[in-house]
Amino acid sequence: MYRKKIYKSYFTYPALFFYILLFIIPVILNFVYSFTNWNAIKMTGETVKFVGLDNYIKIFQNKELIRVIFRTLFFAAVTTFFKNIVGFLLALAFNEGLKTRNILRAIFFLPAMLSPLIIGLIFGSVFMKNGFANQLLIVLGFENLTRSWLTTKSTALGTTMFVEIWRQVGYHMVIYLAGLQLIDKTYYEAAAVDGANEMQQLIFITLPRIIPSLIINLLLSLSQGLKAFDIIFVLTGGGPSGSTELINTLVFREFGKKLYGMSSAYGVILFVITAVAGLLVLKLRDDQDE
């Protein structure tokens, strides 16, 4: 250990100061406000009064909330599953072999760099009544399948999931690619000499060594799924009739009603769910380590 090369701890103080000021304090305030009736119903005179657990009681008396929580979990689970499966398959495909792999990597990563607003506007047009998706179906002879994908209750959530997966899959592909690049080639050479086929190499060499990338991707995609807001907001606004409403869009809606205390309480609930999901993934990693 080269002790002289370790910087003094007070070098962290400025960063710590701003982190506490701009992040930790607002988070703590959010918890505090969730126990108040903070509102700005009268625009020129905001009210803040401690109301104990009233906000939480009202929230859990709301039948819609349970549906919204399950919908959020479902959204996060489905998008996490497909982002990882498709991302991993893309990473395998573009890891080596293809001459055009660098260009293809860039193409698949591109959506992750685009603003959700732009993506929302594009896909809003793609999935509208006379949009590209329906035109394509008509050309392919599936006219009976055409519909307004984002404004039909039965298809709206699935369509938003598709867009979210399309948007983020390249990002997860890059993380898997980084993991694949770290696997020593000699493992594959030795396995090939021993007569292992590609599937066996994938199962016994690639998959066990890609676990760290999987954990990171699971954490990130779960977090993205649970916190999804922008893409939903732009594509459907939570509709039709609440069928794509997630916890974060609900938080925004309560905020829009100027019920800030209630909105904070919804935020705390989402915080708890996200933290539990994250801890479960870490537990998975620890079990794997052991």
Binding site: M128, D230, P240, G242, G256, Y260, D286
Partner: protein, 457 residues
């Protein structure tokens, strides 16, 4: 030990990750900034920047007026007049625009605590300004010269407690069912006077191979207009319905038989299906489906829409050559149109250091020549708030609806406190069969109850 440390570190990271979404909830400002970024409009981002106290205080001292408004309330002609005002007086008008959805939140933050961040701001006249507490922060303009030239409705809408506080250059518009008059004449269709006739008309139009109505039901604001169309019925059932509903949380919409019955008829229209698709209306299938109406009506994909009468001018400006008329929505055989009560007004912040400059601006805008310029450009306004303005032009739909209606009634949202912002969801639910009109009414009353309680606390 190392493993335990790793675990603690990992757990802390997860907590921080989860907490990142809460950071925005602890304070309104970041939420607003996020939204501005998300909507992507540069002007919206500018609005946030412009709300800088220090800069505004400096600008006021330098002879500048900072005017805050929602993004659709300031038009090109406003900026032209502000430029002309600057040429004449040397006083610059800096306009801060914000997204429509965020305006109230931003304005509330801006005005709170006696701030002089903005010198002037815009807001809805009538009960909207009263319930938002605007009279507490607005300068009394009763003594200004231009007040004598205002139409009576504009005086009433901008007055509270005997003091006129708002300056309006908007206008009253009327709402009803816009119909393609040319198409109706070509196909010998009659304007309906009862609900049964209206439904029969819809079936008749369907028989001609056309979808009767364009209805932007996926958006958050439009379909609510059908509910406002029931205002004349409520006024008929109880002439003091506004006072009644505003008096107490115990006075409910559920107490109005006409509201329940009328909503039932609207439900009948919205929920009717042909296969899995709506029977009587269509839209472009986007979440924000308002703009699809221009093309739909222009191409005669649809021939009617519930909207405001100035919309006929918008269709004309969009290249539509058909003539449009309008009739009151005959829900429960109603024959009275509703009016919007007068639009948005300008108010002077009483904490501004620049009140005299603001008054000079209002005097300038109220000059005859400038009013004519303004209304000539505002083809979306069908009446003027000032007397004897010649350039304001009613549309064919305005003339038609006024010829068919008794004295129009101001729509209920302008007067009744605490209108549930989730009403659009209930209407979407009625259309897909998951919400009944009874659910609608109990939700609306429940929201009002919460608001009454919250304010009382």
């Amino acid at each position: 030990m190392k493993k335990l440390t790793n675990k603690v570190m990992a757990a802390s990271l997860v907590v921080c990750m989860a907490a990142s979404m809460l950071a925005g909830c602890g304070n309104s400002a970041p939420e607003e900034a996020d939204t501005a970024e998300m909507t992507g409009a540069a002007e919206e981002a500018d609005a946030t920047k412009k709300a800088d106290t220090e800069e505004t205080t400096e600008s006021a001292a330098a002879g500048e007026i900072n005017l805050m408004a929602s993004q659709n309330w300031i038009k090109d002609v406003d900026n032209e007049l502000f430029d002309k005002f600057e040429e004449e007086t040397g006083i610059k008008v800096k306009v801060s625009l914000t997204p429509d959805n965020e305006y109230e939140t931003l304005l509330g933050t801006t005005l709170s605590g006696g701030s002089d961040v903005v010198d002037m701001f815009m807001y809805g006249a009538g009960s909207q300004m009263i319930s938002a507490g605007i009279p507490d922060v607005a300068v009394d303009l009763s003594g200004e010269e231009w007040v004598n030239n205002l139409e009576i409705w504009a005086v009433n809408a901008n007055t509270y407690d005997g003091k006129l506080i708002g300056f309006s250059t908007w206008g009253v518009d009327y709402e009803g069912v816009l119909y393609n008059k040319t198409y109706f004449e070509e196909n010998n269709l009659e304007v309906p006077e009862t609900w049964d006739e209206f439904m029969a008309l819809c079936d008749q139009i369907k028989g001609l191979g056309v979808t009767p109505l364009y209805e932007g039901i996926n958006g958050t604001w439009h379909t609510q207009s059908w509910v406002y169309a029931m205002t004349p019925l409520m006024a008929k059932e109880n002439p003091d319905y506004i006072e009644y509903l505003n008096e107490s949380k115990d006075n409910k919409f559920a107490d109005f038989k006409c509201f329940r019955d009328g909503l039932g008829q609207i439900e009948q229209l919205l929920a009717a299906k042909e296969g899995s698709a709506p029977k009587y209306y269509t839209n472009d299938g986007q979440a924000e489906d308002w703009f699809g109406s221009y093309i739909s009506l222009q191409d005669r994909e649809t021939v009617m829409m519930f909207t405001y009468s100035a919309y006929a001018a918008e269709l004309k400006a969009n290249g539509c050559t058909d003539e449009f008329g309008m009739f009151p929505l005959p829900v429960l055989d109603n024959k009275t149109a509703v009016s919007n009560g007068g639009g948005y007004s300008k108010f002077i912040n009483k904490n501004s250091k620049n009140i005299e400059a603001c008054k000079a601006l209002l005097n300038f805008l109220a000059e005859d020549e400038n009013l004519e310029t303004y209304y000539a450009a505002r083809t979306d306004l069908v009446t003027a708030s000032f007397k004897d303005v010649e350039s304001v032009a009613a549309t064919t739909a305005t003339t038609d609806v006024l010829s068919r209606t008794e004295e129009p009634v101001v729509m209920l949202i302008k007067d009744v406190l605490y209108w549930d912002p989730d009403v659009y969801k209930y209407l979407q639910g009625m259309a897909d069969g998951t919400t009944s009109s009874d659910d609608f009414i109990s939700n609306v009353d429940e929201y009002r109850e919460t608001m009454f309680d919250t304010v009382a606390e």
